[in-house]
């Protein structure tokens, strides 16, 4: 009988601890805490950028490789681009399975982006994944040209 009580008490404590840990984890994810950092410092953008969210994947080629997707702009002040504004720019995936993957933009429409095949296909990208397209850094371009 006493053993049963001890087990019950241990289980109660374990459940309490788990709830506390889960509560702590939730507090880090509370949406009202996800806000600005040192944004009150005003510096000029060092690159031209576009941030967007994937709304649909393009059709795969015969081998199942996907090189395009449809997107909508997200973030303050981000507007749909004009055609081929981003040709040659760098696309970096900021979420999902392809996090940190980099591609070169081959072409774009107002809501469609196609990447160059040389960086490989976009397979693994998913609807709702977020990405950033950045103008290549001028100093990086210069270094690349100087190097050959």
């Amino acid at each position: 009988m006493q053993i049963g009580r001890v087990i019950a008490a241990v289980l109660l404590v374990a459940v309490g601890c788990a709830a506390t840990v889960a509560g702590g984890a939730r507090s880090l994810h509370a949406p009202n805490l996800i806000r600005v950092g040192h944004d009150n410092v005003v510096v000029d953008p060092s690159l031209r950028r576009y941030t967007g969210m994937v709304t649909a994947l393009g059709d795969p080629d015969r081998d199942g490789r996907i090189y395009s997707f449809r997107a909508k702009p997200i973030g303050p002040g981000v507007a749909p681009p004009t055609s081929n504004t981003f040709r040659g720019w760098r696309l970096t995936i900021l979420a999902g399975k392809r996090f940190a993957s980099v591609f070169e933009v081959q072409s774009n429409g107002t809501s469609e982006v196609t990447v160059a095949a040389r960086d490989g296909p976009l397979n693994g990208l998913a609807v709702s994944d977020v990405f950033i397209i950045e103008e290549p850094a001028k100093d990086a371009q210069a270094a690349s040209q100087a190097g050959g």
Partner: protein, 167 residues
């Protein structure tokens, strides 16, 4: 016969060269402090992917009183701005302590940060940085970043701004 021998020698040299290059790439983040320095270098060189590659997917960032609860959130909400700040400022490492053991390490640094805002207002402050890293494979990646500053007005303004944001 001579051609075959030459090809073998060439292949051997290529293998050695590849091994040296791979070793050099790994050496960049072989220690926790290297990973922290590589992260700052990536920000300075505006290399988004390189910066992201040094972050663990479990990353949580505390930045001047605000929170980025995931690597994705930081990548979208603050990384571009941190790149802009890095481009507009100079971060001089002043102190550093490294600790921890096994796969979990920490790097505590202070930097003298100087530069100018868009309107010419000077930036001159000490930024304190706590970085916790976890080793996966041969590489240390950042699981937590915490920045704060000795500039009380700056810190207070950042926190006021974060509190005013709607939930």
């Amino acid at each position: 016969m001579k051609n075959v021998h030459r090809r073998r020698i060439t292949c051997a040299w290529l293998v050695v060269l590849a091994a040296v290059l791979v070793g050099a790439a790994n050496a960049q983040t072989r220690t926790p402090a290297d990973a922290v320095d590589a992260f700052h270098a990536a920000l300075r060189s505006k290399d988004t992917a390189a910066a992201l590659s040094l972050l663990d997917r479990g990353l949580v960032v505390f930045e001047f009183g605000a929170i980025d609860p995931t690597a994705d959130a930081y990548a979208f909400a603050h990384l571009p701005f941190d790149i802009d700040v890095a481009a507009a400022t100079k971060w001089q490492l002043e102190t550093r302590r490294v600790g921890g053991e096994g796969n979990d390490r920490w790097v505590l640094s202070s930097y003298h940060v100087t530069g100018a805002q868009s309107d010419g207002t000077p930036i001159d402050q000490t930024v304190l940085e706590t970085v916790i890293l976890r080793r996966t494979g041969d590489l240390f990646r950042i699981v937590h970043l915490h920045w704060s500053t000795n500039d009380l007005a700056y810190q207070a303004a950042a926190q006021r701004k974060s509190q005013k944001m709607p939930p």
